[in-house]
Every structure is written in structure tokens, then in C-alpha cells.
Symmetry: C2
């Protein structure tokens, strides 16, 4: 039945994760540069299917896809002061081409503000050009000094970034509300529950007016940021001179926002849904939604195989991708392979099924049943219910591990919310005493009638903390 | 009716091309690094649709998609001697990360042999792992010193590369035949006729045993290489130690091939089909296949618009992407915009059409007719015929400009074929005296019963020459 797989318990999670990403054939970590992994066909297909969901959301909200160059001249990168401060220790520098030293150093984009905005200043002339809503899906680079981890902390990042320009701060705020709606629909399709927090000022994106983080809770009890939304106000439009002529004929600087996600979304799917048998892929992105395993007995070979082929065709006709595993292996070892890869639905066809005009189905989360051969339309409902179940399970896990406390409690795990006066020094002391990082203020904001867990002054809000990736 | 557009005549072609790529909103050349352009939404959509056709062909032929890191350590790049010689003058070097100098320099891939092959040597163990057929679509980088040209000669290249490994030379040869079949189907869908030539030894890919070039003829009478297929034999598998255990239990080095194409395919589409009014997009990749223009007269506004909306819905229902241009502009200026962008089919709906239950259609190549309102299924045939016409037109142009000569003829234009004895010195003298570059030996090979155009020895074959991009 194949090798044993570790269980993703709290203690063993990281070990399990590091192993499963290679066993399930998502990536190969043996590339000769640390933190730059090879996307294998199955992993890349999953990522492309995630990208497809993003593109659907972008189209629905009238964002247009662009693709900007990877390299950014140093002088452009330096235009926004906070931005360069935040990123300068982690960028890769191109200094030579062929045998020549370049006149100006070029950097590999860690994110693309400083690549896009010089062009935005040319594209935008008048209020009629606004809002400008664009996005791109590209490779970005960060020279990570921390321990790398497949999809979660890598040096070449498969990255989604939406960039928008608006007439006013209020229009940009509206965009941020739209981004949150996008995130809700997107993560719901992936069966991933998440929490939204307004990052504390000391942890906002380099150059942002404020930042919102979208975090998930992994079985290790550490949170993973899977998305971020930033209000830039005019912090970039002023140095990059992105101006428009208003209806009154006067010139104004744009207000800007960004929304970013990355291959971490895949990391979250692996971690949150996976179990000791492998991945559990939500049906929305499963490269193979249904796998058919013939259960062959002597004398039945041809009949069973023929029936499986017919079944495959019918399943494809109702719009489900289907793979017939006719390899010369035992059914058990096939079950093992497809569970490892997280295929949502397995269909077995044996002599008894054939006689009874039934098929045996197993959902990847353990539900097993027989359905009538002439009711295969029902497979769609089964997948829907499977998605619902894995979402609910993840949601329960998340909510069970959010702890609203009144005071410091050192043995708290998961996500903690403490009453907070709003002072940076108190926030930082919470971080230190909880041995956690602050995620920020819970959104939507919640009333607080407590005293700050550090200074006992009136707490105006809550501070959310967790151990993080 | 908008500004005048240049005609893509032989003399004015390059000027026309440089202008049209920006006017039709394909790219923006004002990015602050020369030769690195910004893909605008319409251009990027076209490129993505081209990629979709490639992926269909890859799936059909059982190639699996991977995605390898961009950066390659210098020591790996240097493993194949000819390869490094060929590329070392045009690679970008990353030497620093953050504030540190890297221990080993990294280069931005100009092509990915030296990135993939260290992993191939881990993936391949036995003959059962062969053939290995993979591909990726990624950004690659070449430090061009020649004049850059959008999509045709750029420094960041949107690149497709298939890499395969085989048991024997003959299996690799079979792969090359499959690649040629892929190319035929692929370019046919783009209505692009091309010629196939086995490149002369002095112009093969750095590290290849032999190279095949796929070339098209542009209106400037210069050819453009739009694809290349390489037989590597064991030139890479030996230095990269890509070995397998054969059925006999002994170990052998693999035989390898590659097949590459790039955004030049888009360049070819622009150049070959375009005219003085703009692009002509083949229907297979048109982001908008049908545009509807309401022809509005006073008193008819609502009726016409309502009919256009209904029509749009019906056109979408038969599977054609359709845009209803309801902007507040004259029909003429709308015609201008969509002709510029090369939309294959325009539908006009005016009061007369409404009364007669007809619609007026114009194909982008000038054919105009009326069809019955209840026969819109016919739009599909119209698009098919349009594709056929633009293909035929391009094919005629290509064949008209292939000249089979017996001797040097200095005023020959387009593509020339001269009898050749096979000696490099004669080939190079032909290049010099014709002021052309050799494309190579025509494939499939043609008999030759002439004397070499240079030395008058018996010509064993033909040498094809042209001015090239």
C-alpha cells in the first residue's frame, strides 16, 4: 500500500509539509539555488488553476491584465523613500551584461510599483482615464535570508499584483472594499477560511498609508499571510508624478491601491486541507476531479475496462475532468497514489457494481457510498458537498483557535486578541510577552470595552497576534 | 475618421510596424530600459491566446508543462562548452543580493538547457522514464546589442521551449518529425505560411548537433525566424550526466531535442496580415471575434440598441466573443478603432437592417455583405472563410517571393535558393555576394542537378538565403 506518510499534527506539521510537497509531485527542491524550486507538472497545473480563478475575479471587476518588464533601473526603484528602505536588503542586482558593466544597476522586481508607476504617469491624463485598474501575474524575487519553505518562503515567487489609480481617497477606499469582496469569493472557492486584519503601523507595506493582511491558520498553529491589500494614498503618485486633470481643470495626484497574492495560496491549500494520506484538493482547482479505478477480477477484464471507458466519457460529458487509471498495479496502490495527490473523487467499478448497475464512489475526505450507474449527474453534487465539508472543517479549526483574552496568557496558542490602547509600545510589549507577532486590528472592527492588556489604559480596540510564517 | 496610418509596403514596412504596435495598443515602448517593453492588455491577451494554442498542441502530444527558476548558477551554465561560447556575450549577470556580493554569479536564463538538465539527470533513471517530454512558457533574457524591435528583437523575451529526452537518436529524430507536425498545425491556425530549413553548420544553435529553422517572409522582404527545432544528440546529456538504464541493464546517455518559439510569432502575425488600416487578427486568437456597431438614426436609438444587445447575446451563445460598441462616437470612428485592432468581423445594425430582418457584416479583409438576421450561425463560416483568405493571401506572397536561381543574381529579393556544393566557404561567399544570410537547406530536401553557384562543382543540394531580422 506504499510508504507511510507523516501526520500533519501541530508538532509534525512542518516536517509533513516539507515531505508532502515533493511526494505529491508539486515541486522539486533539488534545484542548485536554495529557495528556488522547480514547479513540477502537477504543482504547476494547480497553480495555473488558481491563477484562472484570480483572472475570473479580475475580469468580473474590470481589471485589465498587463505584463511589465522584470528589471527595474535603480534610479526608479529609489523614488519612494520608504519603499527602498523596506526592500533594499532583499533585492537581487544585475550589474553586468555580457562582458560589460552596466551604466546603471538593474534590480529584479521584488514587487512592481516602481516598474508600473513611471508608465502610469504617461497613461493617465484626465479624470476620464480613472479609475485605472490593472493586474499582472509574474515572477518576483526576494533574497530571503530566513529558512526557505516551498511555496511559503521562496526566493523566486509566483506573484499576483493588482494596481489601481483613483480620483480620490474615498474612491480608493471603495476599491479596497471591492478587493475584500474579491478575496472572499476567491478563497471561498478554495474552501479556505481567512481572517482580515489592519496591520499595525510598524508592520505596514513599505510605502503604504495602511495595509490589510489576509491570514490563514495552519495546523502548526502559525498563521500564514496569503494576501495583502494596501492603501497608498498619494505616497507613490507624488514621487512618480501620476497626475490627472480633474473636472475643474486643475491637476491632482492620484490615489492608489494594490492587492497582492502569491503561490502561498497553494501552500495554504496544502496545509489546511491535507491529512496523513496526502493532499485534499478543492474541486474548483483539481486538475483531475474524478479518477476511475477498475477493480478487475479474472474473466472480467474486458467488461470492466469497457465499462470504465464508457463511464469516463459520460463523466467528461457532464463537464468533470476524469482520469481512468488502467495501469498494471493493485487497486490499493492506485488509491494510495491518488489520495496523495488529493483527487477529490474516486470511482471504483468492479464486477458487483457492474451486475447491480451501481458505481462505488469515495470522496477524498473519507465519505464512501454507492450510487446508481444512470445517475452520474449526482457526482457534481457530491463534489459540491465535499467542498462544503472541507470548508466547514477548516472553518471550525480556525474559529476554535481564535482566543479573545483580557490579559496576557503565555500558553495561548493559535490566534489571540488582546484589548489594546493603540500605543505602539504596548503593542510591541504584547508581541514580546506572548512571543507572537501582531497581525493587527481585526476587521471589520469590533467594539472594545476593556483595559489595555499592558498599560491598563482604556483599550480603544483589539490587537490580534499569532506566531507567523 | 482618425489619423492616417502608414502602408506596410516593402520600403515603409519597418516604420509601419514600429508605429502599429503602439497604435493598436499592443505594447508601450517607453519603459525606461531599451528593448524591454510593456505588454498592454490587448497585446497580452493576444499573446495569451497564442500560448493557449501552443498548450493545446502540447497536451495533444503528451508534453507536460513545468516551470523552472529564472536564475542559473554560472558553474552549471558553463558545463556545455559550445553553449557558453554562443551565449556568454548576451547574458545578464546577477552579482549582488541586498548588500552582499554573491559567492557565485547567477545569470538570467537566455534559454533553459542548463537549468533543466541538472534536474533531468535526477528524474531519469531507466528506459521506463523515457521519452520525457516537457515544456515551459517563461520570460528569458538576452542582452541585444542590435537595434531592438517590439516582439522581434527584445531583451526580455516571452518564450516557449519544449525539451525532450529519448532512448536513441532515432527516437529523437521521430520527436523532431512530431515537432514539425505541431508547427504545421499551429501556424495554420494563425494563418501563417512558413518555410523549413536545416540551418548550415556555422549557424546552428550553440550546442546542437543540427538545427532546423522555421522562417516567415515579412512584407519588408526580410525573413523572420519564428521557431527552431534542435537535435542535440548527446551533446548536453554527457556533460549533464543524463543517463538511463536500458532494457539490457546497461547505462546510456539520453538523446535530446528542443523546440522553441517566442513572442516573434505575434510579430509575424502583425507583419504578415496587417495593412494600412491596422492589424488583421486570425479568428483563432482574436480576443474579440465580432464587434457590433449600432448605426443610430434619430428616433431609432432604443430599438437599435435593444436589437444589438439581443444580437450580442445570440452571437455569444454560438461561441463567438462579441463586443457591443455603444460608445458615443460616430460609426466611422468606431470602424477605424476596430480595424486598427484587427477584429475579424464587424456587424452593423441600422434601421434598414432592422426593417429587412438583415444584418450588415464586414470582414476585416474587406468583404462586405448582408445576411439574414435569423442565420447568425453563418458568422462562423464567414470567419472560417476569412481565415482561409488571409492564409491564401500570405501563402501567395510567400511563394511569389521564393526564387530558385542557378547563379548569383544581385538584385534578387525575398528568398533565394542557389545550387550548393555543401562547402562552407562557398556558402559564405553566396552570403556575401547576395548580401543575404543563409537560412540553410530547404526541408523536405529537394533534388539538385546543378552546379554550385560559386565553385561550379557538382551541387549536392540547395542553399536558401534571405535578408533576415
Amino acid at each position: 500500500m506504499g510508504e507511510e506518510v507523516l501526520k500533519p499534527t501541530k508538532e509534525k506539521f512542518d516536517e509533513w509539509y516539507n515531505e508532502i510537497v515533493e511526494k505529491a509531485d508539486l515541486c522539486d527542491k533539488r534545484y542548485p539555488i536554495k529557495g528556488m524550486n522547480v514547479w513540477k507538472p502537477y504543482g504547476w497545473k494547480l497553480m495555473q488553476n488558481i491563477d484562472k480563478l484570480i483572472r475570473e475575479e479580475m475580469e468580473r471587476t474590470n481589471h485589465q491584465e498587463v505584463c511589465f518588464p522584470l528589471l527595474i533601473p535603480e534610479s526608479f526603484f529609489k523614488k519612494e523613500e520608504e519603499h527602498i528602505k523596506g526592500f533594499s536588503s532583499e533585492v537581487y542586482w544585475v550589474t553586468h551584461a555580457g562582458k560589460n558593466e552596466l551604466e546603471e544597476r538593474l534590480l529584479l522586481r521584488p514587487t512592481s510599483e516602481t516598474a508600473l508607476y513611471p508608465l502610469f504617469s504617461l497613461w493617465i491624463r484626465s479624470h476620464a482615464d480613472l479609475p485605472l485598474k490593472t493586474f499582472q501575474i509574474v515572477n518576483t524575487f526576494r533574497y530571503e535570508t530566513k529558512m526557505t519553505k516551498a511555496f511559503i518562503r521562496v526566493r523566486e515567487i509566483h506573484f499576483f499584483e493588482a494596481h489601481t489609480c483613483h480620483e480620490s481617497f474615498e474612491d480608493a477606499e471603495k476599491q479596497i472594499r471591492e478587493d475584500l469582496e474579491i478575496a472572499k469569493r476567491f478563497f471561498r472557492k478554495l474552501c479556505i477560511p481567512f481572517i482580515i486584519s489592519k496591520r499595525p503601523d510598524w508592520d505596514k507595506f513599505a510605502g503604504a498609508f495602511y495595509s490589510i493582511g489576509l491570514d490563514v491558520l495552519m495546523p502548526s498553529m502559525k498563521t500564514l499571510q496569503v494576501g495583502s491589500i494596501h492603501q497608498y494614498k498619494q505616497n507613490f503618485s507624488i514621487p512618480f508624478e501620476i497626475k490627472f486633470e480633474g473636472k475643474d481643470g486643475k491637476h491632482y495626484y492620484c490615489h492608489q491601491t494594490t492587492y497582492g497574492m502569491s503561490e502561498r495560496v497553494l501552500g495554504a491549500i496544502i496545509g489546511i486541507h491535507g491529512d496523513e494520506r496526502g493532499l485534499k484538493i478543492p474541486s474548483s482547482i483539481a486538475p483531475i476531479k474524478v479518477v476511475i479505478i477498475p477493480i478487475i477480477f479474472k474473466g472480467w477484464e474486458e467488461k470492466i475496462l469497457e465499462e470504465c471507458k464508457k463511464l469516463k466519457k459520460e463523466i467528461e460529458e457532464i463537464g468533470l475532468t476524469c482520469f481512468l487509471d488502467a495501469r498494471d498495479k493493485t487497486p490499493g496502490s492506485k488509491f494510495y497514489d491518488w489520495e496523495l495527490k488529493g483527487v477529490p473523487l474516486r470511482v471504483e467499478v468492479g464486477p458487483k457494481d457492474l451486475e447491480n448497475k451501481m458505481i462505488t464512489i469515495s470522496l477524498r475526505d473519507g465519505i464512501k457510498k454507492k450510487i446508481k450507474r444512470d445517475e452520474i449527474e449526482k457526482l457534481k453534487d457530491e463534489l459540491k458537498e465535499y467542498d462544503e465539508r472541507i470548508y466547514k472543517k477548516a472553518e471550525e479549526f480556525l474559529h476554535k483557535n481564535i482566543h479573545v483574552l483580557k490579559e496576557i496568557c503565555k500558553d495561548a496558542e493559535g490566534i489571540v486578541e488582546l484589548p489594546w490602547c493603540g500605543k505602539e509600545e504596548c503593542g510591541k510589549e504584547m508581541e514580546e510577552r506572548m512571543d507572537m507577532k501582531s497581525l493587527g486590528i481585526p476587521l471589520p472592527e469590533k467594539e472594545c470595552n476593556e483595559k489595555c492588556a499592558i498599560c491598563s489604559d482604556k483599550a480603544t480596540t483589539w490587537l490580534r497576534l499569532a506566531r507567523t510564517y
